[in-house]
Symmetry: C2
Subunit: 363 residues, 2 copies
Amino acid sequence: MSNPSLLILPGDGIGPEVMAEVRKIIDWFGAKRDLVFDVSEDLVGGAAYDAHGTPLHDDTMAKAQEVDAVLLGAVGGPKYDVLDFSVKPERGLLRLRKEMDLFANLRPAQCFDALADFSSLKTEVVSGLDIMIVRELTSGVYFGEPRGIFEEGNERVGINTQRYTESEIERVARASFELAMKRDKKLCSMEKANVMESGILWREVVTRVGADYPEVELSHMYADAGAMQLTRWPKQFDVIVTDNLFGDLLSDLAAMLTGSLGMLPSASLGAPMANGRPKAMYEPVHGSAPDIAGQGKANPIACILSFAMALRYSFDQGDEATRLEKAIEAVLADGYRTADLLGEEGRDPVSTSAMGDAIVAAL
Amino acid sequence: MSNPSLLILPGDGIGPEVMAEVRKIIDWFGAKRDLVFDVSEDLVGGAAYDAHGTPLHDDTMAKAQEVDAVLLGAVGGPKYDVLDFSVKPERGLLRLRKEMDLFANLRPAQCFDALADFSSLKTEVVSGLDIMIVRELTSGVYFGEPRGIFEEGNERVGINTQRYTESEIERVARASFELAMKRDKKLCSMEKANVMESGILWREVVTRVGADYPEVELSHMYADAGAMQLTRWPKQFDVIVTDNLFGDLLSDLAAMLTGSLGMLPSASLGAPMANGRPKAMYEPVHGSAPDIAGQGKANPIACILSFAMALRYSFDQGDEATRLEKAIEAVLADGYRTADLLGEEGRDPVSTSAMGDAIVAAL
Ligand SMILES: CC(C)[C@H](C(=O)O)[C@@H](O)C(=O)O
Ligand SMILES: CC(C)[C@H](C(=O)O)[C@@H](O)C(=O)O
């Protein structure tokens, strides 16, 4: 049997730096645990635009469709702000999500004990927090037509379309119930059914799918109330499922609750491929952080934890994923901190690569 | 000159209870400050549905168009969850906003010193917080067409339309710059211009209007980053302007930062009427709280502060508004707390009407 394949797309800003640390981890698993991956690397985002005039080359897209999993760093930067919408770095990312049909975006918001003080929220509100937001990722207002800026009378109008079919809602709902079954069996679905018809359909379909999961306690919440409740007492939630746009805001909010954005991974999963593995892309929740790029300041942990998610969800190596997560916890407990994990304390931060090395050593 | 007119719409749940306290305040201003209002009262939401089969009777709508200001309590309740979308309590509220053309929804998020501990955020993150969110209230996905649930092939699809014209963006931007001029001269505009064309137009128009306000420091932020930054360090903001849907989530999030939802008022303003006063509706940010309705537990302060906003924005009585706000601060400093403002402490809460009486006494 051939080795499982990984396509690495470091992207822009701190993407290449954090991905370099992930490669150390991948190498360690190959050398020490006999988990050898066929790794290839390519361009996405601004880096791809600089090379090819497009944020994602067709060849790269084709490769992404063939591999077992894609690992992405981050895209974007001020240099590309002037570009036309159609070739902005983000379009590369959105094209990957859409063409790979990665409909279920799993975003854990987990608070690491060693870092609980770092949150803007009171320690008792966030310590031990462990929730999972499932964001629909291939539809809704991100992709709905019609869209654009049109002339209307003597002025222009900006239009986007929120659009969900029953089957789109159904598949992400099912993925969320499955996940809830493996966790605390509690699922909260968020929409604005009091204002939006697409939210009414969302609620109806999620409720219908719920009939297949009688063990899961299903609740519904308006997304504005959801934002409030996440802020007030996030531990009331286990799994949350919501649409693409609400998921964008709510998962970022949930991420910030933990106080350590540089720690949070994500998985974007699609339908099973012929080999049984889901189409999958893994990426840190943080952005390309152009302000600190190239200075060895970035925290590689979110990207390394994204690889741990790949081990778990793509390669059925849950034990190895846990091994990696434990190594990271150990390194944090030992006091290793990149700059983003230090408050006012006068301590010196460790560099991106020193953090990667420490994790390898802990493994 | 005839007295200024007020239409009171208590609505559902705790609406009537908190509004009863506002009437005490209105009476006090009439008796002691010679500020006499012509007050009329009518039904909205579920209460209107129960009486007329519609959440807002045409006669009530007509009255709202004629008065100098509308004061609304809250709408909705579980009893009405089964109703068709078109007659749900919320539709009454949305019709008022739309037909009165109340495009600028001002939602202050202010942290009261006496209550800073009550937030889920660290005290230093929220103490002294005083930001103003201006939410566009008459357009966007709340009202855009096409909308509905349609058959498509062998399934249904839920559709809503995000839609903003240049003039819609321009007027709310202008209102926000005007407000920023009276405050700290800092305005942050939030959208998703990286994903939505309507966000691109939004950013362009806000920037253009900004040229008329060179003293105001204008910044732009993606709405997901905005949710994060509000959670991380809300004091970085002064005035925030955003669209109807983002504003719904972000203003609720900002409200929850303060930890005391029962304290937060809002003003929804439209164009000037013939008498120079803006079309206006004032309402607390909190909902109808059906779980505690009718028990004398509700906090009337948000609704009373909404009346203070009416004094300031509709009746040019800024000094009287300040007088009322100071009375509320005094009552809080004296330790008066409704149930929502008490934590684990073993103190007894004061009732809704005792809180109203205390504020009248403090005046
Ligand atoms: C970069 C941007 C297009 C993207 C999104 O809006 O989905 C990002 O915010 C995210 O959440 O992954
Ligand atoms: C009740 C509901 C229709 C309303 C809204 O979504 O605008 C409420 O959440 C608000 O923010 O005033």
